[in-house]
């Protein structure tokens, strides 16, 4: 009897783990990124990019699939900063993200963000911060102006959390005032083949 109860326990434990996994599916960040040539990128997007990047440096083009959605992403550097521009399936620019340092987050917003992160887990570590510029008009000069004037809309953070039973990562989107807009889990990193 004892042995059976152990088997049953294990069975339920795994079933439960699978169930809770299934519930999370939609909120997990599972982008599949594929490097492509400029010629495989929407033409209008390539053109717009050349006008806003104003850089001789190489632009890297990626095609992204996230579930059923297809989108395009371009990565480039400008004035020593890393940028990534995201386009929809039709080649319309949706947003531009700019890498910044943690201490560049505005103070008031950062206090709010930290308070919120503390509620999720006692210990956390902000691994990556980006300013998100939402694009309304496909106009290169207004986009450049928006970025040069630092008129961003949101902060996008990758945060690692540490709890008693697990360590995990989330992608958190905060408004520039520091209010949480959305969050999703980031896939666990695998290191196995470089550790063993």
């Amino acid at each position: 009897m004892k042995r059976y109860s152990l088997v049953l326990f294990l069975l339920f434990a795994f079933a439960k783990a699978d169930f809770s996994k299934a519930q999370q599916v939609q909120t997990v960040k599972m982008e599949q990124e594929e490097r492509v040539n400029a010629s495989d990128f929407p033409k209008s997007a390539v053109q717009l990019l050349s006008q806003i990047t104003k850089t001789d440096q190489q632009i890297k083009y990626y095609k992204e699939t996230d579930g059923y959605l297809t989108s395009y992403e371009a990565k480039y550097k400008r004035r020593g900063r890393r940028y990534s521009a995201e386009f929809n399936e039709l080649g319309l620019l949706i947003d531009i993200e700019k890498d910044i340092k943690k201490k560049e987050i505005k103070k008031v917003a950062f206090e709010l963000i930290k308070k919120e992160l503390h509620k999720i887990a006692q210990q956390y570590k902000i691994e990556k911060v980006q300013e998100q510029y939402l694009i309304n008009e496909q106009n290169p000069s207004s986009i450049t102006l928006q970025i040069d004037n630092n008129e961003f809309d949101n902060y996008e953070l990758i945060v690692a959390f540490k709890e008693n039973r697990k360590i995990y990562r989330k992608e958190m989107l905060y408004s520039k005032e520091g209010f949480l807009i959305k969050q999703r889990n980031v896939k666990r990193l695998e290191y196995d083949f470089i550790l063993f």
Partner: protein, 220 residues
């Protein structure tokens, strides 16, 4: 006179050439690796490996099985312990039992994964106990995008230094470097070919070998 001088010299050089060969042994080592993690702080790794030497065909040296358990200490650090048993085909030599403790620091910088591994091995062969302290620095990077997706390739490289101590024996030093290529053939399955070059016991009796490690990695 001069001719015989050069003949002697050539003969002498020949022996130099033979001792200066690049590789003493060619080794092929296929392995099966299983990783198990349930999103908690504990993770487990199992590996089965066979070592073959390539001389006049393929000749098996040993098979081994290892079991590891690791615990996530912090955001990037891990503590692990494992046990390995090695069945040596040569009946003149004892089988090996090995205990391993390790501390690992691994982090991802954009697309590049970097890991530092400090290991302490206790290998028991018959009545002999050998301690090995080793440090390995390794990295891996996908050749496409930020992370490895199905049917995408990655490169991996590592360098490892070993200090070997055994009672009544002079200390030994090994050095290894490795370079490899891998691909995710399925969502949770990777196949990886690594060429590893080893300088074994380089302070006393240097032996150089080239390893071809072919591994299949599956994560549950």
């Amino acid at each position: 006179m001069t001719l015989s001088f050069f003949r002697t010299l050539a003969l002498l050089m020949l022996s130099f050439m033979s001792t200066a060969q690049v590789v003493d042994d060619f080794i092929a080592q296929p392995s099966l690796n299983l990783a198990w993690n349930n999103n908690g702080r504990w993770s487990y790794n199992t590996a089965i490996e066979q070592r073959n030497i390539l001389v006049n065909g393929v000749q098996g040296l040993h098979v081994q099985a290892a079991q590891f358990a690791s615990y996530d200490l912090g955001f990037y650090t891990q503590l692990g312990a494992g046990v390995m048993y090695r069945e040596v085909f040569d009946n003149q030599r004892p089988e090996e039992l090995r205990f391993t403790e390790q501390f690992v620091h691994a982090r991802k910088y954009n697309a590049l994964k970097i890991a530092h591994r400090l290991r302490w091995d206790q290998r028991i062969r018959g009545t002999d106990l050998t301690h090995r302290w080793r440090y390995r620095f390794s990295g891996s990077m996908p050749l496409n995008g930020e992370s490895i997706n199905t049917r995408e390739w990655y490169v991996t490289a590592s360098a490892e230094a070993l200090f070997i101590a055994q009672h009544l024996k002079k200390p030994g030093y090994d050095q290894r470097v490795a370079l490899g290529l891998g691909t995710a053939i399925l969502k949770k399955m990777k196949i990886q070919l690594v060429t590893e070059y080893r300088w074994e016991d380089y302070t006393q009796d240097l032996e150089k070998s080239l390893f071809l490690n072919l591994g299949l990695y599956y994560s549950l």
